[in-house]
């Protein structure tokens, strides 16, 4: 008899990067399944290299595995070559740590980071041989849970999930899991267990709510069960110093996207850019103390042996006394030649000074996101930097020896005109000339232009996305402009992928059949340009009588019910309306400079 293990061994010899599936990394936690009361799989609907770069995974891995009675193992989307073999040999999707089929776990928790990974979620359930829809799952099937940013508007996924956890799960998850096991032990049947879980803070059980429509118009959620709360409020961690901190995360063998040690300086962001969902759903700003950071940084390096320590946050340079923290870290870690790094920088002189401090070595390139090229438009989106600040800080960076810059912009922002688009090219031209005068060496400029996607829970949630034709026209303006601008590298996002993202970012439950259909027709890894097939999606929409345009291009009115109105991130809708109106009035937002008291 051939065992599954033998077949798996054989398959690993056939696939590209087999270490995506083998686990056994340093710090990977292996527990006997029979020695714990609860087994959870953390499922990331993208490749290993992407998922292993996610900080949330590391936090939850620590939060669950530190409980002696629980275990958490990992599973990622198999690449297409592995999927083909799993299907050919009829092998179920398995976890990295124990190589056990996902079906044998009590709970599977999906990390929902971006809309274009939704087909991978369905694919993973299917490969695990678990019914896709909650109504088809029986007592023995694992509980299917979703979390992460997309859980703030999970309606397109509602039929496939038993429940969602809104917000930061590291402290509440063990309690939810214990509650689940207790209910199971008491012999309640599946639906009753799930209904009872809806009373836990932050838990949203979509099957207890019925979306009501008047004609085509969504008019609100009807509760099917009195126990389910009318408004589900997100959970937040109050004190980061006492919250679980991943001090010994698994160290991948493969090079992952962010292959380094991470300490999180603070949660949330005080800047309040109006397009930015992260800024709103992670409110309020909470920071870790410097002592705690310093102490854990040392432990992480002891435990992992990483050569780089990244100080992450949504806007790391806003951390008060960051310079002092970096100095202290440097003196602790320099004997082991560990370098500190910051994921992104603000365009101000303070940040440049810090960047200079961090990079003792070759100064290849710095990354900045002005987002819009005109001051007027930057005010609309509340990205308050002046042109003068851009020039001064980039100039400082050049004096400090940097070789080039990556600049991120967006098109399709509310109140954008052609001038704003043309200005992206002009700004880059002015920068190029400015650099020529300032530096003797060649300075590289990389410009990446994304398309604005309106997101739920932001002041721009009512705004439409630009039509694809219009996006293409504005991209043409850029392409023509940049063709004439030598020495500047220009790249842009596929308008069709941004459209799909917008459809799902503000979608409702009517999208679920289209999603399922697209997956059935073979859509996978939609966020990867090499796999993205828009024609399949068009067919899926047609087949299921869904008009994607109605979601992406729609301007909602303030008094309209939105599919995520019952899910609260703690920011009042009236406040979002006020911010939205402020932005359109072109009103000057309060000046923000680097100010430690901002936090």
């Amino acid at each position: 008899m051939q065992t599954q293990k033998d077949i798996l061994k054989y398959l690993l010899g056939q696939v590209w990067k087999p270490a995506r599936y083998t686990g056994n990394e340093w710090n990977a936690v292996k527990k006997e399944h029979s020695s714990v009361d609860l087994r959870m799989a953390f499922a990331f609907p993208d490749l290993y290299e992407v998922g292993m770069s996610n900080h949330g995974l590391k936090i939850l891995y620590e939060s669950i595995n530190r409980n002696p009675g629980m275990l958490m193992e990992r599973v990622f989307s198999p690449a297409t070559d592995m999927e083909e073999l799993l299907r050919k040999y009829n092998l179920p999707l398995f976890s990295l740590e124990s190589h056990k089929p996902l079906k044998e776990f009590d709970i599977i928790g999906f990390s929902l980071q971006y809309e274009l990974s939704y087909t991978n979620v369905l694919n993973m359930l299917d490969l695990a041989d678990i019914p896709l829809r909650t109504e088809d799952r029986k007592g023995d099937h694992p509980l299917i849970v979703g979390g992460g940013p997309c859980a703030f508007n999970p309606e397109p996924l509602a039929p496939f999930f038993d429940l969602f956890v809104l917000g930061e799960a590291e402290e509440c998850l063990p309690a939810i899991l214990t509650g689940y096991m207790d209910l199971k032990r008491h012999g309640y049947e599946r639906n009753e267990i799930i209904a009872r879980l809806s009373t836990f803070e932050g838990v949203y059980v979509p099957s207890l709510y019925n979306p009501a429509y008047s004609g085509e118009e969504f008019i609100g959620m009807e509760r099917k069960d009195d126990r389910a709360p009318e408004m589900i409020r997100k959970v937040t961690v109050e004190n980061l110093d006492t919250a679980p901190f991943p001090k010994a995360p698994p160290v991948p063998y493969l090079q992952t996207i962010h292959d380094r040690a991470v300490i999180e300086l603070f949660r949330g962001c005080g800047r309040g850019c109006r397009f930015c969902q992260a800024g709103y759903i992670f409110k309020p700003v909470r920071r870790r103390s410097r002592d705690k950071l310093q102490q854990t940084a040392k432990e992480i390096i002891d435990n992992t042996g990483y050569e780089e320590l990244s100080l992450v946050s949504l806007s790391s340079t806003d951390y008060p006394h960051l310079e002092e923290l970096i100095n202290n870290l440097d003196s602790d870690l320099s004997a082991r030649k560990v370098k500190c790094s910051l994921p992104s920088l603000r365009l101000d002189s303070y940040s440049i000074k810090l960047a200079d401090k961090l990079h003792q070595g070759r100064k290849s390139s710095l990354t900045f996101a002005p987002e819009a090229a005109t001051e007027r438009l930057r005010k609309v989106i509340k990205k308050n930097i002046t042109e003068e600040e851009i020039f001064t800080s980039l100039g400082d960076a050049i004096d400090a020896g940097w070789q080039g810059f990556k600049l991120y912009f967006m098109i399709g922002l509310p109140a954008e005109h052609d001038e704003d688009v043309v200005e992206i090219v002009n700004l880059c031209r002015r920068l190029r000339e400015y650099f020529k005068g300032r530096a003797k060496r060649k300075i590289s400029i990389n410009v990446s232009v994304a398309t604005f996607v309106p997101k739920s829970h932001t002041p721009f949630q009512w705004e439409p996305q630009l039509s694809m034709d219009e996006v293409n026209r504005r991209q043409d303006i850029l392409r023509t402009g940049f063709k004439k601008l030598r020495g500047v590298d220009f790249s842009w996002h596929d308008a069709r992928a941004s459209f799909l993202e917008a459809v799902f970012a503000r979608g409702d439950r009517k999208l679920a059949p289209a999603l399922e259909h697209a997956w059935q027709m073979g859509c996978r890894f939609d966020g990867w340009s090499e796999y993205f097939d828009f024609s399949l999606w068009q067919r899926a929409f047609q087949k299921t009588a869904v008009r994607g345009e109605d979601y992406a291009y729609r301007r909602f009115s303030y008094d309209q019910c939105l599919p995520w109105d019952h899910l609260s991130c703690g920011v009042d809708k009236n406040m979002l309306i006020a911010e939205h109106q402020k932005s359109l009035a072109g009103e000057k937002p309060e000046g923000v400079t680097h100010d430690p008291d901002l936090l």
Partner: protein, 242 residues
Amino acid sequence: MTRICFNYARKEQIKYISHLDMMRLFQRALRRSGLPLAYSEGFSPHPRFNLAAPLPVDVTADDELGEVFFKEEIAPEEFILKLKKQLPEGLEIKRAQAVDKQAPALPSLVSAALYQARLVTVSPQLEVNIEAYRSALERLLDKEEILAPRSSRKGKRKTNVNVRPYINEAYFNGDEHEDQVVLKLLLQTGSRGGVSPVFVLEQLDFELGEKRPSHVNWNLHRVRLYRDCNGSLKPLSEGMCI
């Protein structure tokens, strides 16, 4: 300054990673060990550390070598003790010894490697026609030229290199595992040219043509590395090292 040369084995659990992954794995294990590492100069300092020869993905090995430099005196026993604690399952340090700091770098000494390739089938019912394999191998070895694509240093120009001279020995041998087909390959490797065992097996499969059974995989194992000693091959782990 101490220079320590060590032998290690790579087993099944850890065989699925590339040479670069192995380098990272060792460097991170060394950093965790707390040993007084010597670091390279330059913009991004890393521990002064070498592996004798890259192991391809999906290949196990018994007798590999590596070397590390320390800024202080370190006893080989202490080195083994501390590094062992930091290595994952499937990677085993066997012996270690201090060596002359002036001796040439370990990778420059390697000139050949002995491999064992075993056929594994996904389903046990599958018969493997050994005779077909034997004659395919004969045909392959009879060739005067076996061309392998190489890209130039900058990766721009592609050229073909005749790798037939780099196949020193290749023969089927049924002595240890009567029921399995075992192919032994002694291949030249290192700075003066070489050929990868994976490429040789691909060529063999190609020779088999239609006779190549589906659902069959090669299981590759590196038995040992050799250095050139006045024209004859000596195991690398004897002599200069240990």
